[in-house]
C-alpha cells in the first residue's frame, strides 16, 4: 500500500547502544554510516555515526518495519527531527556511565518533545549495575520538570529480551492511547 511507512527510531548519546539495540532485532545486519571520529577528546570511540543506522523487520503483510538509529551528538539534531517524522515511536537510550547523563536526556527530551509527550517514547537506562547514580528517580524528576510522563526502565541492550521489553513498553502505551481514542469516538 503506497505511502505507509512503519518506523521506529532509536536515539541517545554515543555509546548508549543504539546500533546494538537495532542489531538485536533487525533481520539484516544494520547498515551504518560510521566515519572516523576526529574528536577523540570528547569521545574515545574510533568511529562516529553521522547520518543513521538502519535495520528492518518484515511483517506478515510483506511491509517492512524500519529501524533507524540516530547520530548521538547534538550537532546532528537535524537528523533526529528528520528521522522522527512519521515514526511510530522513539526509544531513547541513556548511558548512565557518562559524566552527565541527565544533561544528555535534556537534549533528547527537547528534540523529541512531541513524540515523548504523546506517549510514544520509552527511556532505557543502561549500565545501571555498574553506575547506579543517577537513579531512575532523578530521570523521573527531570521528566516531571518537563511536565511529561514517560516510562523509564533499566536495560542492557546487549540482551535481546531487554530490547524487546523496551518495545513492549512502547507499544503498550500506544495501544492504551488507541483504546482511549476508540472509547472517545464511541462516546
Amino acid at each position: 500500500m503506497a505511502g505507509r511507512e512503519f518506523k521506529l527510531v532509536f536515539a541517545g548519546s554515543m555509546g548508549a547502544g543504539k546500533t546494538t539495540a537495532i542489531a538485536a532485532i533487525s533481520e539484516i545486519p544494520p547498515i551504518r554510516t560510521d566515519v572516523h571520529n576526529t574528536d577523540v577528546r570528547s569521545h574515545s570511540k574510533a568511529t562516529t555515526t553521522t547520518a543513521m543506522d538502519y535495520g528492518e523487520v518484515t511483517l506478515d503483510s510483506g511491509d517492512k518495519l524500519r529501524l533507524y538509529g540516530t547520530p548521538g551528538q547534538t550537532r546532528f539534531d537535524f537528523m533526529w527531527r528528520i528521522l522522527a517524522k512519521g515514526a511510530i515511536g522513539v526509544v531513547l537510550l541513556v548511558d548512565n556511565s557518562r559524566p552527565d547523563p541527565l544533561s544528555d536526556v535534556h537534549a533528547y527530551l527537547d528534540a523529541f518533545r512531541e513524540t515523548v509527550s504523546s506517549s510514544r517514547a520509552v527511556i532505557g537506562i543502561g549500565r545501571t549495575e555498574t553506575h547506579p547514580e543517577p537513579g531512575l528517580d532523578a530521570y523521573y524528576a527531570l521528566a516531571d520538570e518537563y511536565g511529561i510522563s514517560v516510562p523509564i526502565v533499566s536495560v542492557d541492550v546487549r540482551r535481546r529480551e531487554d530490547v524487546l521489553l523496551l518495545l513492549n513498553v512502547l507499544f503498550s502505551q500506544i495501544e492504551a492511547s488507541l483504546e482511549t481514542e476508540e472509547q472517545g469516538a464511541m462516546a
Binding site: 523487520v57 511483517l59 517524522k85 520538570e145 516510562p151
Partner: protein, 352 residues
C-alpha cells in the same frame, strides 16, 4: 530479641537522613551540598545529599513545577519535608521557609527541626491517611493482620530510614533490613514460595522485630534489592484487598512505571502500567481492559503501592495536550491495533 515499639523518640542513636533540592540553580544546589558536609558535625542526625523525592527534606524553588509533585508526595507519605527557599521579599507558598541567602545556622536549625519532628512521629512516617499499622508489640496478637499488612510494615520501616536492623522471622525463614542503608538480606533466594511463607502472619506473628544487636555484616546470604523485595512482596501478599488508603471504587493512577528491567513481571503488568500511567482506572475497569482476574490486578496495584509508584490523587488525566507543532511528528493515522499486532508477531513479542 527486643521487640520494636512504635516510639521512634526512644531512639538514642543518630539516624541517617537525606536532603535534596528541587528546581534550584546548580550553584545553589552545590552550595547546599557543601554546607551539608560542613554542618554535619553540629547536627543530631547524619545528613547527606541525595537525588530524588525519597529524601527526608526537599529544599524547593517556589517556581518549580516539580515542587508541587514533592508537596503531593509529602501529603501522601509524610515525606519529603518540603521547605521553600525564598529571599526576603519573595512570595512562597505556605510552609517552612529557608531564607536565601542560606546561612549555616539557619540550615542547622532547619535540619534539627526536621530531626525532632521525625523522632516524635510514630512509625509509619506518613501522617495523613493511615497506611498500615506500625511495628507491633509482641502482645498485640496476630488478629486480623494479613500478609499485605506485614508487607506494608516492611515498606514503612524502609521509608523511616532507621539505622537499626529489623527482622521478620517465620520458622526457619528470615529477612533482615537496615532501612538507613536500604539493605535487605534473606535466608533464601527471593522466591514466591519463600515470601509467601515469610509474610504469613500465622508464621511470623504479624510483627517485625528490631534486633538488639545491629547486624552490621548482614550475615544472611541473599541480597535482593529493597525495591525487588517490596515488589515481589506485593505480588505474593495476595490480591484479596487493596492496600490502604486505596479502595475498589476510587480511581488509581501510576505516578511512575515499575522498573520492569529489574523487576519480574507478567505481560499483563506492562499493559496495566500503560493504562494506569495514562489515566486513573478503577480496579473493575482495569480488569476489563486487560482481561485478567481482579485478584491479579489488585496484586499488581499492591506491588506498585509498596514501591511508592501509585498516586491515588492522580485525578487529572495525563493524556497529552495537542500543540501547534504536534502535527509534524504526530503518529501516522494508519498506525492502528492491527499493525501493532503484526509488529508484535514479527518480533515475537506477543500481546494481550
Amino acid at each position: 530479641m527486643e521487640v520494636a515499639r512504635a516510639d521512634p523518640s526512644m531512639l538514642a542513636v543518630s539516624c541517617q537522613r537525606t536532603v535534596t533540592t528541587i528546581g534550584l540553580p546548580a550553584r545553589k544546589e552545590q552550595l547546599i551540598r557543601s554546607m551539608l558536609l560542613a554542618v554535619n558535625a553540629r547536627t543530631t542526625d547524619r545528613w547527606t545529599f541525595a537525588d530524588g523525592l525519597e529524601a527526608d527534606v526537599a529544599i524547593c524553588d517556589v517556581d518549580s513545577r516539580l515542587a508541587a509533585v514533592a508537596v503531593a508526595r509529602q501529603e501522601r507519605d509524610g515525606r519529603p519535608h518540603c521547605v521553600w527557599l525564598a529571599g526576603d521579599t519573595a512570595e512562597a507558598p505556605i510552609g517552612p521557609r529557608l531564607e536565601d541567602p542560606i546561612g549555616s545556622s539557619s540550615l542547622i536549625a532547619l535540619l534539627e527541626s526536621v530531626s525532632t519532628t521525625l523522632r516524635r512521629r510514630p512509625a509509619p512516617a506518613a501522617t495523613s491517611a493511615p497506611v498500615a499499622p506500625p511495628v507491633v508489640a509482641a502482645d498485640a496478637g496476630v488478629g486480623g493482620r494479613t500478609a499485605l499488612d506485614v508487607a506494608l510494615m516492611l515498606r514503612d520501616l524502609l521509608l523511616h530510614g532507621s539505622s537499626d536492623t529489623f527482622q521478620i522471622t517465620a520458622g526457619a525463614l528470615q529477612l533482615r533490613v537496615v532501612p538507613s542503608r536500604r539493605a535487605v538480606r534473606a535466608s533464601q533466594p527471593l522466591t514466591d514460595d519463600y515470601l509467601a511463607r515469610l509474610l504469613d502472619p500465622a508464621a511470623n506473628g504479624g510483627r517485625i522485630e528490631r534486633l538488639a544487636e545491629p547486624d552490621r555484616a548482614l550475615t544472611l546470604l541473599h541480597a535482593p534489592s529493597d525495591v525487588e523485595t517490596l515488589w515481589r512482596a506485593g505480588l505474593v501478599a495476595g490480591g484479596d484487598a487493596l492496600a490502604a488508603p486505596l479502595h475498589a471504587d476510587a480511581p488509581i493512577g501510576l505516578a511512575r512505571w515499575p522498573d520492569f528491567g529489574r523487576l519480574p513481571h507478567a505481560p499483563a503488568h506492562v499493559q496495566m502500567a500503560a493504562r494506569l500511567s495514562r489515566r486513573p482506572h478503577r480496579v473493575e475497569e482495569l480488569v476489563t481492559a486487560v482481561g485478567r482476574p481482579a485478584r491479579e490486578v489488585r496484586a499488581f496495584v499492591n506491588a506498585c503501592v509498596l514501591c511508592g509508584l501509585v498516586s491515588p490523587q492522580l485525578a487529572a488525566s495525563r493524556e497529552p495536550r495537542p500543540t501547534a507543532t504536534a502535527a509534524a511528528t504526530a503518529r501516522p493515522a494508519y498506525i492502528g491495533m492491527g499493525i501493532l499486532r503484526s509488529i508484535r508477531t514479527a518480533l515475537g513479542l506477543g500481546g494481550l
